[in-house]
């Protein structure tokens, strides 16, 4: 090959180097071209505008609902705390002889306020509330999941389980349509809207460059179609990821401000969670999901020859992955029908109650129930007198509560989400990080039911022994320390999705090169 000729061109054009462009510089040049093209496209700005609006709405949702739920929990804590404090004081007063508990049989309103005898375990069981509070995760407001409709706290007493655990009793009051429509939290923004942004940035596919004059220009310039595809997908993915990162950062900041964590110790804990663990996992899932979508989009771009078919392909994939597959996955969930077990258990328990073995037992049960209902604030008069009735009542209620507790525990068993619905799995992963999966709440309910049983057993034992409580006993009554949701392992899913996306992208690029080579 002859050497480089000198150019006769004036104007200071740089001499040709005679060295082939290395892949990195080619990639850089392609990326710069793609960025310019994106900037010039109206669809880019339209897509970004829509995403920004949706992101703002999402951050506002985080702020509104995060504050609401935090406030509800905080108020529950305050309320129960106040009750406990007053009962603690009353107990001390009774023990020290400063306060005289009211005798139930002779009480009249003229005597003033009724003072329950907290030395009686039966009374304590009724009056002393235990707050079962589901621990809130720092990222709870980012993926609201089941939080808007499920109870995050229960007030546990020794009343029947059915009364304590009435579903929806402590859940926040919301318009029923909210459950059907959902909220636009950060998880929804990532799962539903971010792929739309990506589709908007990639929607024209490679149609322009596959045919006609532009194809000739680029081929003559030595651009391989696979390289162009990779550059286009890379830039669009980077833009989408950047937009999503900004939205995530804004949502995290909002969550921190509204969660009540903006105190010194709270900040430290929040910061630790944010920096160390959960936010990285969140971003990992989001990135993997976007990589998966990039792979899908690359496949569509290779398969579809015209702009219209590219757009239709992307739309079709979006609909399939984000709408159809989750609907099918929900239909295929193992727990379809499981949710009816609670009321079935209640009905079964009622029928058991109705099938009392003998009239005498039924009469005794009636009597104890009668005493129970008539005087719920009964102070324990001579221990031996009422103990048998109270004990029979407790035994009867144990039998009633058992099927309900079993149903709650069964309901809390984890259900795997269909592996073939990536959107469902990603959504679930987000909710797992936020501690707001349905199974998290159901697990909490089951845990509370178990505690309720343990609490009643404790009271029952004291009744059997005819114990009288003192302040020390009062303080040592069982307390609930919810385990909290186990930290989900989202890395496996994330890595799998990311790898799948990368494989699809690389495969699409290779196929693109091959098909055009064969065409040539």
């Amino acid at each position: 090959m002859s050497g480089a000729p000198t150019t006769a061109v004036e104007g200071g054009l740089p001499p040709r180097s005679g060295v082939a462009a290395n892949p990195i510089s080619l990639a850089s040049a392609l990326l710069r071209l793609e960025l310019r093209l994106l900037r010039r496209s109206r669809l880019t700005w339209l897509s970004l505008a829509m995403f920004v609006l949706a992101a703002c709405a999402s951050v506002a949702t985080v702020q509104i609902w995060g504050g609401k739920l935090a406030e509800a929990n905080s108020q529950a804590v305050t309320e129960v705390g106040q009750q406990l404090q007053s009962m603690q004081s009353l107990m001390h007063g009774i023990q020290d002889g400063l306060v005289r508990p009211t005798a139930v049989d002779s009480y009249t309103p003229a005597q003033g306020e009724f003072v329950p005898d907290l030395r009686d375990p039966y009374v304590v069981g009724f009056y002393r509330p235990q707050l079962a509070l589901k621990p809130a995760q720092p990222l709870a407001a980012l993926a609201l999941g089941a939080a808007v409709g499920q109870a995050a706290h229960y007030t546990v007493t020794s009343r029947p389980l059915n009364e304590v655990m009435t579903h929806g009793r402590n859940a926040e009051l919301t318009h029923p349509g909210l459950g059907a429509v959902g909220v636009l939290d950060l998880a929804s923004l990532t799962v539903l809207i971010a792929p739309l942004l990506l589709c908007g940035l990639l929607g024209q596919g490679l149609a322009r460059e596959r045919h006609g004059a532009l194809h000739l220009t680029l081929t003559a310039a030595g651009v391989r179609p696979g390289a162009l595809l990779l550059a286009r997908v890379a830039i669009a993915s980077a833009c989408t990821l950047t937009a999503l990162l900004l939205a995530t950062a804004a949502a995290l900041a909002t969550a921190w401000l509204t969660s009540g964590s903006n105190t010194a110790p709270g900040t430290a804990a929040f910061a630790k969670a944010v920096v160390v663990g959960q936010s990285l996992q969140w971003l990992g899932i989001a990135t993997a999901y976007l990589l998966f979508w990039a792979g899908l989009a690359a496949v569509v771009m290779v398969l579809c020859r015209s702009e219209l078919s590219s757009a239709v392909g992307l739309v079709g994939f979006w609909f399939g992955v984000v709408i159809l597959l989750p609907a099918l996955a929900a239909a295929a969930r193992e727990d379809t029908g499981r949710s009816e077990r609670i009321f079935q258990a209640l009905v079964a328990a009622q029928q058991t109650d109705a099938d009392a073995a003998s009239l005498e037992q039924a009469a005794v049960l009636q009597q104890s129930v009668q005493h129970l209902l008539q005087r719920p604030d009964t102070a324990l008069t001579p221990c031996a007198l009422m103990r048998s009735e109270v004990l029979r009542d407790y035994v009867g209620r144990f039998n009633y509560d058992l099927p309900v507790r079993s149903a709650l525990q069964q309901q809390a068993e984890p259900v795997s989400t269909a592996w073939w619905s990536p959107a469902s799995r990603v959504n679930e992963a987000f909710q797992a990080l936020a501690g707001n999966r349905r199974q998290d709440f159901q697990g909490f309910a089951a845990e509370t039911a178990v505690f309720h049983h343990a609490y009643r057993m404790d009271i029952f034992r004291r009744l059997v022994d005819c114990q009288s409580l003192d302040a020390a006993d009062y303080s040592s009554l069982p307390r609930l320390a919810p385990r909290g949701a186990t930290a989900p392992n989202v890395w496996v899913s994330s890595v799998t999705l990311a790898l799948l996306g990368l494989m699809l992208t690389m495969g699409a690029a290779w196929t693109c090169n091959q098909s055009l080579r064969n065409r040539a």
Partner: protein
């Protein structure tokens, strides 16, 4: 020019027949719609079987319970189950997000949050596979795409000349295309209509549901046609259409819901607090309220006796019933307040939802299938009336047949078996259609807007001497 209509129609049909992918997609959709209805009906059947079995067990438990004092029986309680509406398979609406069972007991009421008493479906995670879901998602998207492709076909100058030579006018072409799209939408719905008519019988609700569904699809199709005509060969028109759909289907409904909650907040704690305050000074059947003493004193005065033992009625039973009436009144007030808040939220949602053809359709669909909030609340109301009647009968029996302090005398079993069954589903009445005026208006508006756009485009093209 009239003679050019038939050739135009033939031309459009031929062009459509050549698009196998489009026809295939329409065919798949036409089959998917009745299939999803069949699926939903199968799920409903399963659920209702379970519910009926539970109802029978509950009834057996109620009838067969140990004979006891009437008020104790009132606490033993009974169950009420929500039956499925005839068209629930078309649109499950809110039914998947509320429970089916309500426990009827003295002094207590399931607060009408419609939060699941026995289910835990309130995570809003996944939509239910149903004809309504398909009608809101894939169907309008498909019609949008078809309309768009049709519109951009003749938007290029060079494609128009053969048609102009053939004597076609701008309006004529648009009318034919718009009619073709309407016909496609109706054709796709025919299998669903036939299947649904066989399953539930033809009737006004079904016909109106189909009309609303067809209207939605036609509005998207005409919108696509107008967009295609306007955008022409401009890139990205389809994706712009998708973004429009996503904005009105995904973003707007969720935002309006949250906004409604902010503008018209509802609070569990506030409600609990109100209830507590309202009940504080009232009679308390099981408590030691000061009002109890006044009530009892009033009874003595009414019957002109000195002690409760002399009363010809059971004062305890009357106190229970008074407590029942008080609580029912207080609860009803709170329920009314809550529903008023929900109604105000709904009005705000409807106002904002005018920007979305899908939201209007959703409201219509749920109302016509009796799966919206109002239908569920109506059922709640009927159940509550039944509960009050049941408790009233029991307390009345106790008041008349026993004396004060007597908690041992058991009722006759006939009292349990004499309670009438709960009413089933009440068919939607004319109030539904009236209530949905705004939604019908919204749907109509979303037909008129693209129609006007098409007319405008046709006029503009004609004035420029283009097709």
């Amino acid at each position: 020019m009239n003679s050019s209509w038939l050739p135009l129609v033939r031309l459009e049909l031929k062009l459509l027949a050549a698009q196998r992918v489009t026809l295939g997609a329409l065919l798949v959709l036409a089959l998917a719609l009745p299939s999803s209805l069949a699926w939903q009906n199968a799920q409903l059947l399963k659920q209702q079987s379970m519910v009926q079995a539970a109802a029978q067990r509950g009834l057996a438990a109620w009838h067969g319970q140990a004979l006891k004092n009437a008020h104790l029986a009132a606490h033993f309680g009974s169950w009420a189950f929500r039956p499925a509406s005839a068209l629930q398979g078309l649109d499950p609406g809110l039914t998947h997000h509320v429970g089916v069972a309500t426990f009827l007991e003295a002094h207590k009421r399931n607060m009408p949050t419609l939060a699941a008493v026995d289910t835990g479906q309130l995570d809003g995670s996944a939509p239910q596979l149903s004809p309504a879901l398909l009608a809101k998602t894939v169907f309008p998207l498909l019609m949008l795409v078809i309309g768009l492709a049709l519109g951009r076909r003749e938007a290029s100058r060079f494609d128009l000349d053969p048609l102009r030579v053939a004597g076609a006018s701008a309006r004529g072409v648009l009318v034919v295309q718009a009619t073709l799209l309407t016909g496609l939408a109706v054709a796709v719905l025919l299998p669903l209509a036939a299947y649904a008519a066989v399953e539930v019988g033809p009737g006004p609700p079904l016909l109106l549901w189909l009309l609303a569904c067809a209207g939605l699809q036609v509005s998207f199709a005409w919108t696509g046609l107008a967009m295609g005509r306007w955008a022409g060969a401009r890139r990205g028109a389809l994706l712009a259409g998708l973004l429009f759909w996503a904005a009105v289907a995904l973003v707007l409904p969720r935002c309006t819901m949250t906004l409604a909650q902010v503008v018209e907040p509802t609070s569990r704690l506030a409600q609990n607090s109100s209830l507590k305050q309202a009940l504080a000074k009232e009679v308390d059947g099981h408590g030691k309220s000061a009002a109890n003493a006044a009530f009892r004193a009033g009874l003595l005065a009414r019957y002109s006796v000195a002690t409760e033992a002399e009363l010809p009625v059971n004062a305890d039973a009357l106190l229970m019933q008074a407590d029942e009436l008080v609580r029912s009144r207080v609860f009803a007030t709170q329920v009314a307040l809550l529903r008023t808040a929900f109604d105000r939220q709904d009005r705000l949602i409807a106002l904002l939802g005018l920007a979305s053809p899908l939201m209007a359709y959703e409201r219509l669909s749920m109302a016509l299938t009796q799966t919206d909030r109002h239908a569920l609340q109506d059922h709640d109301g009927r159940v509550e009336v039944y509960r009050q009647e049941m408790i009233s009968r029991l307390n009345d029996d106790m008041a008349r047949n026993t004396r004060t302090g007597d908690w041992k005398t058991a009722v006759q079993r006939e009292l349990f078996t004499s309670l009438p069954p709960l009413p089933g589903v009440v068919a939607a009445d004319g109030a539904v259609w009236l209530r949905m005026k705004a939604a019908w208006f919204g749907q109509l508006a979303w037909l008129v807007i693209p129609a006007l756009s098409l007319l405008l485009l046709a006029s503009t093209a004609s004035s420029r001497g283009r097709l």
